[in-house]
C-alpha cells in the first residue's frame, strides 16, 4: 500500500492504517511542502513515514537536531510561503513553544502535531490528554492562540490535517492537531482523499526575494510606542473571528438528556460506548464532543446548559478541559469531572458506573429543586 503507484490513497477506497501514518499521508494530500521533526515516542511513525514518502513526492524531509530546530525550520519554510509542518509528543512540544510564539507574532502559518503522552517531565509513553492547557492557551509566551483540533478516530486524524493546513493559511497562524498515543498507534479503516481547497488569500507577504518589488520583512519585534498593542488587538480580532466561524463539535442524544457527557479525542470514543450502554439501561444521557478544542464549542455547551442538566466531563488528565466546560456552563448546571491521568485509560464500565451514580444524584437534586420551587 505504501509502494508508489500501488496505493489506494487518493481514491475512495478504505485502507487500514495507524493514526500516525494516516495523518502523515493526509498532510501530503493537503500539499505539505516540508516536514521537519525530531524522534520521540509515541509519534515516531510520522517522521518514519515522511522520510520515505516526502522524497518520493519531490518534497522536503529533514530530521532536525532538536525540537527547537524543527519548529524553526518550519518557521523558515513557512516564511517563504511554503506549507510546512512538524510533529512531536508532549516534552518535545514544550521545547517548541518558543517557536510557536514567534510564529504567532510573525503571523506565519504552520501545522504542529502533538501526539500526547503522560507528563509532567519525561512522564511516560502512554496516551494522555494532559497538554490541553498548553495547547488551548497558546503555550508559549505572549498574548496569542493556536487553532487546536482534538480528533477521535484515525479518519478524523486525516480529516483534521487538511483542514489544519487550510485554516493555518487562511488566518496566518499555527493549527495544532492534539492527538494521543492511542490514536497515533491504533489501526482503523480510513478513506484518504484530497479535500477541495477553498480560495485562500495570496501569500504576498512571503519572502521570495525582492525581485522588482519592495522588500518583505517578517518580524515579531515592535518597539514603537503602541505598535505592539495595536498588533495584539489585531490578533485578538482575528481570534474572535475564528471563535465565531470555525467551531466544530459533535452532539449525540442531547435533546432529552438529563446528563450530558463532554469528552474529546480517544476519551470521547470510550464515552460514546458508555453512553450507548446507559441508554440501553434507560438512562437519559447524551454527549457533546468538541472537535475544535480552541475555538471551544462554548455556545453549544451553554445552550445545552439552559435546560437544567448535569454535565460530566471525562478526560485522560486530572481536569483541564473541564475548566472550559465550566466557563461555558457558567453556573447554570452542575459540572462533575472524571479523569484518569498519567497514561491511565478509563474503561466503558468505569464511565458507565459514573453515569449511574450521577443519575441518582441528578434525581435527588431535581426533586430538591422542585421542592424549592413549591416554597
Amino acid at each position: 500500500m505504501t509502494e508508489k503507484g500501488q496505493t489506494s490513497i487518493g481514491t475512495e477506497e478504505r485502507v487500514l492504517m495507524c493514526g500516525n501514518e494516516a495523518l502523515a499521508e493526509a498532510a501530503i494530500l493537503a500539499g505539505c511542502d516540508a516536514y521537519f521533526g525530531y524522534p520521540i515516542t509515541p509519534q515516531n511513525e510520522i517522521p518514519a513515514y515522511m522520510s520515505r514518502r516526502m522524497p518520493e513526492e519531490g518534497r522536503v524531509f529533514v530530521q532536525s537536531e532538536s525540537e527547537l530546530a524543527a519548529i524553526n525550520m518550519v518557521f523558515g519554510a513557512s516564511a517563504t510561503g511554503k506549507r510546512a509542518m512538524t510533529s512531536s509528543s508532549s516534552p518535545g512540544i514544550s521545547l517548541m513553544q518558543e517557536g510557536i510564539s514567534y510564529l504567532a507574532g510573525a503571523e506565519l502559518p504552520a501545522v504542529v502535531v502533538n501526539v500526547m503522552r503522560g507528563g509532567p517531565g519525561l512522564g511516560n509513553i502512554a496516551p494522555s490528554q494532559s497538554d490541553y492547557f498548553q495547547a488551548t492557551r497558546g503555550g508559549g509566551h505572549g498574548d496569542y492562540r493556536t487553532i487546536v483540533f482534538g480528533p477521535s478516530s484515525v479518519q478524523e486524524m486525516a480529516d483534521c490535517m487538511s483542514l489544519a493546513f487550510e485554516l493555518a493559511d487562511k488566518y496566518r497562524m499555527t493549527a495544532m492537531i492534539l492527538a494521543d498515543g492511542f490514536l497515533g498507534q491504533m489501526m482503523e479503516p480510513v478513506v484518504l482523499k484530497k479535500r477541495p481547497s477553498p480560495e485562500l488569500p495570496p501569500k504576498d507577504w512571503a519572502l521570495t526575494g525582492a525581485k522588482d518589488r519592495e522588500q518583505n520583512i517578517v518580524r515579531s519585534l515592535w518597539l514603537g510606542e503602541g505598535v505592539l498593542e495595536d498588533l495584539n488587538f489585531k490578533l485578538d480580532d482575528k481570534y474572535k473571528q475564528i471563535q465565531k466561524n470555525e467551531v466544530l463539535c459533535e452532539q449525540y442524544e442531547v435533546d432529552d438528556a438529563e446528563i450530558i457527557v463532554v469528552a474529546y479525542g480517544i476519551a470521547a470514543r470510550i464515552v460514546s460506548g458508555a453512553v450507548t450502554r446507559a441508554r440501553e439501561e434507560g438512562i437519559k444521557v447524551g454527549w457533546i464532543r468538541p472537535v475544535t478544542l480552541w475555538p471551544f464549542p462554548t455556545e453549544q455547551i451553554s445552550k445545552a446548559a439552559d435546560e437544567f442538566r448535569l454535565f460530566l466531563t471525562v478526560e485522560m488528565s486530572t481536569g483541564q478541559m473541564v475548566e472550559d466546560v465550566k466557563l461555558a456552563v457558567a453556573g447554570k448546571a452542575p459540572v462533575v469531572f472524571y479523569g484518569r491521568p498519567g497514561g491511565g485509560v478509563p474503561t466503558v464500565d468505569e464511565i458507565l458506573d459514573k453515569i449511574r451514580q450521577l443519575t441518582i444524584r441528578h434525581k435527588t437534586q431535581d426533586s430538591r429543586l422542585k421542592t424549592q420551587d413549591k416554597r
Binding site: V62, A69, G76, L207
Partner: protein
C-alpha cells in the same frame, strides 16, 4: 565631476541606530555591496539575529526575517531546503551563534546546509548591556565579569570557527577583522567568496567571522577599540582562512 564612491543601492539611505565606532555599520555596508556586485538582490533572503543587529532589515534592502535568539541556522535550513535556488544568509552575533545557538550552527554545518553565515564577534553581548559572551577575552571586564573573565571558572574564549572547520559539511571559513581599511577590504573579499560558493551551489556551509568593535561595552574610544581588535583579539582569534 566624476563620482568615485557612492552608497550601494541595497544599503538604505537612513540614519543609523548603532553607537559611534560600532562595527555593524561596516559589516552591513559590505554585505549590501557584495549583494549588488553579485546582482543577487532579487533572489536573496537574509536572517536578522537577536541582538543589536535585530533591525538589520532597516538597513539592508532585501527580503528579511527576524528570528529567535540563536535559531537562524535552523530557519535558514527550512528556507534553503524548500527554496534551493534562493541565496540564504544569516547574520549572527557571538551571543546568538556561539552561546544560545551553538547547537543550531553546529548541526547546520554538520548537515552541510548550503547557506552563508556572517558571524560578528565583538566579545560581548551588546544589546543587553555588555555581558560576558563565550568569545569574551580572558580578564576582560564585562557587566557580568566585574573582576574580569576568570578562565578557571568561566572558561576560555570559544573559537567557534575552529570548531566548525573540522566538519566535512563546512566548505569555507575565514576570519577577518573590521579594524583597518586593508582588513575591511579583505573582509569584503571573504564575504563575496562565501556568497559565490552558494551561488555556484558548492556543497556545504560557508561562514565568515568578522572581529568587530563595541567601543561602548569595551569602554574605549572608537580608535582604541579598533587597535584592541588588532592587538588583543587577533591573538586569540587569528585572522585568515581556516577552511576552503
Amino acid at each position: 565631476m566624476k563620482t568615485v564612491f557612492q552608497r550601494t543601492p541595497t544599503l538604505k539611505d537612513c540614519p543609523t541606530h548603532y553607537c559611534p565606532g560600532c562595527g555593524h555599520g561596516i559589516a552591513h555596508r559590505l554585505i549590501a555591496e557584495v549583494i549588488d556586485e553579485l546582482g543577487i538582490r532579487g533572489s536573496t533572503i537574509g536572517i536578522a539575529p537577536v541582538g543589536c543587529a535585530v533591525l538589520e532589515y532597516d538597513y539592508i534592502d532585501v527580503d528579511m526575517i527576524e528570528v529567535a535568539h540563536g535559531r537562524a541556522p535552523a530557519v535558514a535550513t527550512g528556507m534553503k531546503r524548500t527554496n534551493p535556488d534562493k541565496i540564504i544568509f544569516s547574520y549572527q552575533g557571538d551571543g546568538d551563534l556561539a552561546s544560545i545557538g551553538a547547537g543550531e550552527i553546529l548541526h547546520a554545518g554538520h548537515r552541510g546546509e548550503q547557506i552563508t553565515v556572517i558571524f560578528i564577534n565583538n566579545a560581548v553581548f551588546g544589546m543587553t548591556g555588555g555581558q560576558m559572551a563565550p568569545t569574551t577575552m580572558a580578564d576582560q571586564i564585562t557587566a557580568t565579569t566585574p573582576k574580569g573573565r576568570n578562565v578557571a571558572e568561566e572558561g576560555y574564549p570559544l573559537c567557534v570557527s575552529e570548531l566548525l572547520a573540522v566538519l566535512p559539511g563546512v566548505t569555507y571559513i575565514e576570519r577577518c577583522a573590521l579594524s583597518t581599511p586593508a582588513n575591511i577590504r579583505k573582509a569584503k573579499k571573504a564575504l563575496k567568496h562565501a556568497f559565490e560558493l552558494q551561488i555556484n551551489k558548492a556543497h556545504g556551509l560557508s561562514l565568515v567571522e568578522l572581529l568587530s568593535s563595541c567601543p561602548t561595552y569595551w569602554r574605549m574610544s572608537p580608535p582604541d577599540a579598533t587597535k584592541w581588535i588588532d592587538n588583543k583579539m587577533t591573538k586569540v582569534f587569528p585572522l585568515g582562512r581556516l577552511k576552503g
